[in-house]
């Protein structure tokens, strides 16, 4: 209860929480809220590049599609991609990190050196390379992102597990004869959960940004997907005259990422008093 009250007083975190709720709401109910359902995918060339108006709040793009409707519909895609990528990255990174952190020996060493190799190269470059190899499309972009994001989880979990490995309560469990599986999954995992949750929240925003970037660079979503990054890429040629075609999908990315980051930061402050800093 105290934790919840503390969180309610954290204004930036609450703003982040509100943004996330809105974004999730749009992702779930977006298709019902769309003002011009027929102008999401179908083009209407007579209406090309209409500036924002009462009818088309965000204006129309180069094919006369309603940008507001497309941003709404794109939300679902962005969230799904982020969730999937983060979930897969957790599924790969966390078990590896726990294993490598708890045991010693060449296998643990190998896992961590591979992790280091991944972390030594900027994620976006690695993801670009993998996505290029796998071929164009959202699926390959997601695969590329998940395959390059797990080392972050692995590192975090590894460090936490190393710290816990010599803690008294783990030693006590070993003394009682608890199996390694029990110690790792029933005791170490819940104790490393907080940093995982924080990283996952921030990672959601980060992944949305990276997905948009991949879409912009042309290795992610393909037309006519309402992907935000793709929308910005498509409108690039018409800048700066048709500013609205790039601005509104860009703002959508900005707000969503901001929401996850603010929320994640708030969570971090709640969970880890060591990282607490005074914010005036």
């Amino acid at each position: 209860m105290l934790i919840i009250r503390k969180f309610l007083r954290d204004v930036p975190a609450m703003m982040g929480f509100a943004i996330i709720c809105t974004v999730i709401g749009i992702a779930v109910f977006g298709s019902m809220l769309v003002p011009h359902p027929h102008l999401v995918f179908e083009s209407d060339l007579l209406r090309r590049f209409e500036p924002p108006s009462a009818e088309f709040w965000f204006g129309t793009d180069n094919l006369g599609r309603d940008i507001f409707s497309r941003v709404l519909v794109g939300t679902q895609g962005a969230l799904t991609v982020a969730l999937t990528v983060v979930a897969v990255a957790i599924a790969i990174g966390v078990p590896l990190g726990i294993y490598a952190g708890y045991t010693t020996g060449w296998l643990s060493e190998l896992v961590m050196r591979v992790t280091d190799m991944f972390l030594a190269v900027p994620q976006i470059i690695l993801a670009l390379a993998i996505a290029q190899l796998a071929g164009r499309g959202l699926g390959s972009a997601m695969t590329a992102l998940a395959l390059t994001y797990w080392p972050f989880f692995c590192r975090t979990v590894y460090a936490e597990t190393r710290r816990l490995r010599h803690s008294v309560f783990i030693e006590a469990l070993e003394g009682l004869g608890a199996s390694r599986t029990r110690i790792l999954f029933a005791h170490v995992l819940p104790n490393v959960a907080s940093p995982i949750i924080v990283r996952a929240t921030v990672g959601m925003g980060f992944t949305i940004l990276t997905t948009a970037l991949l879409g912009f660079l042309g290795v992610g979503a393909t037309a006519p997907s309402p992907d935000w990054g793709l929308a910005i890429a498509e409108s690039r040629e018409y800048l700066p005259d048709m500013w609205w075609a790039a601005t509104f999908p860009g703002l959508a990315i900005l707000f969503t990422v901001l929401g996850f980051n603010l929320f994640g930061d708030g969570l971090r402050d709640l969970i880890d008093p060591k990282l607490r800093r005074s914010r005036s």
Partner: protein, 346 residues
């Protein structure tokens, strides 16, 4: 009906470090337990006493099987249980259990007390839920707590309650030997007295054998039948509590006793106090480990390591000491004169 000892150690050596890490330098070896031999009889309470870093806890963990002994034999009920891998050793020695120095930290902060106790039984394959609940209930009342504690988290318990839970957690497995690591540290005196009373009561109720790891001499004197004094990984004096407290033979024991406050004025007059810190366990002096701080030390002490041998006057009850000059020390203390000026005696 006195049969053989329930636990017997024979020249046990336990080493930390050594070996080399990948691409790293070879690390120096630390012989934390260096050739310890003693027996523990069923039902007795044996104290392991010594300064911090003398290897008490390492010895306890070696006996428990959490650390693998480098050499030597450990027999439990006459059966050899040493020389196994840590997992096997722990299994073979399940009748030995350990209560941590900080029993609060030994509990998973995320789990309630009830959940933790339940888990202990589950680890030991007690699959019947009702049976587990019954045993938990029984054990809680044995350590003087009620079932409302089952829903609490470790940080919601006081020091004394944590100790009781720590005991309940292992007694629930029906051990025969319980190793208590600094069982009274961090408790205030009134709680200490209650907890010690509880130890005594449980020992009789469950027929336990205690190994007390402690440096609180008053507690040792009150609770234990026999005392083993350790210095730098070796047992330097071993024997029944009263003779050792009344007439210590090894100069280290004498110094240790004089360092503990006493209510009887003059009782410990003339006993030396220790200067300096003990030498690093990674660079133990040759011969007798205590010679660098001992006033009786001479060339024999640096050349030969003294064996643990019976003290002649007191041999019948198993009083033993590892010192080349114990007779000199005994003589001077009986004489009442200060034989150990050099050791910073007041």
């Amino acid at each position: 009906m006195k049969s053989g000892p329930i636990l017997s150690l024979e020249n046990v050596v336990s080493v930390y470090g050594g070996g080399r890490s990948w691409l790293g330098r070879a690390q120096p070896e630390v012989r934390a337990v260096d050739g310890v031999t003693f027996d523990v009889q069923e039902g007795e309470a044996l104290a392991l006493v010594g300064e911090s870093g003398c290897g008490k806890t390492t010895l306890a963990k070696t006996v428990l099987g959490l650390l693998r002994e480098r050499s030597g034999n450990i027999r439990l009920d006459g059966k050899l249980v040493s020389g196994l891998t840590p997992q096997q050793a722990r299994l073979a020695r399940m009748t030995i259990q350990y209560v941590h120095q900080d029993p609060g930290a030994a509990l998973d902060p995320w789990w309630t007390i009830g959940h933790t106790l339940d888990e202990t039984l589950r680890i030991h394959a007690v699959s019947d839920r009702a049976e587990r609940a019954r045993r938990i209930e029984e054990m809680l009342s044995a350590v003087g707590l009620d079932s409302s504690f089952l829903r609490r988290y470790p940080h919601e318990l006081s020091g004394g309650q944590q100790r009781r839970i720590g005991l309940a957690r292992i007694l629930i497995l029906h051990p025969r030997i319980v190793i208590l690591d600094e069982p009274t540290s961090g408790l205030d005196l009134s709680v200490q007295a209650t907890v010690l009373g509880l130890f005594d009561e449980l020992r009789h109720q469950f027929g336990l054998t205690y190994i007390f790891v402690s440096h609180d001499l008053s507690v040792v004197r009150r609770m234990c039948d026999r005392v083993a004094i350790m210095y730098l990984g070796r047992v330097v004096e071993l024997g029944p509590t009263e003779p050792i407290f009344r007439a210590p033979v090894h100069s280290y024991t004498r110094a240790l006793l004089s360092a503990s406050p006493s209510l009887t004025p003059g009782q410990l007059d003339g006993m030396p106090s220790l200067r300096d810190d003990p030498p690093s366990p990674s660079a133990v002096p040759s011969g007798c480990g205590f010679r660098t701080r001992c006033a009786l030390a001479d060339r024999v002490c640096s050349a030969h390591r003294p064996a643990l041998e019976a003290v002649v006057d007191d041999a019948a009850n198993g009083h033993m000491a590892a010192c080349h000059h114990w007779q000199d020390g005994l003589f001077s203390s009986a004489d009442g004169s200060l034989a150990m000026h050099g050791v910073g005696a007041q």
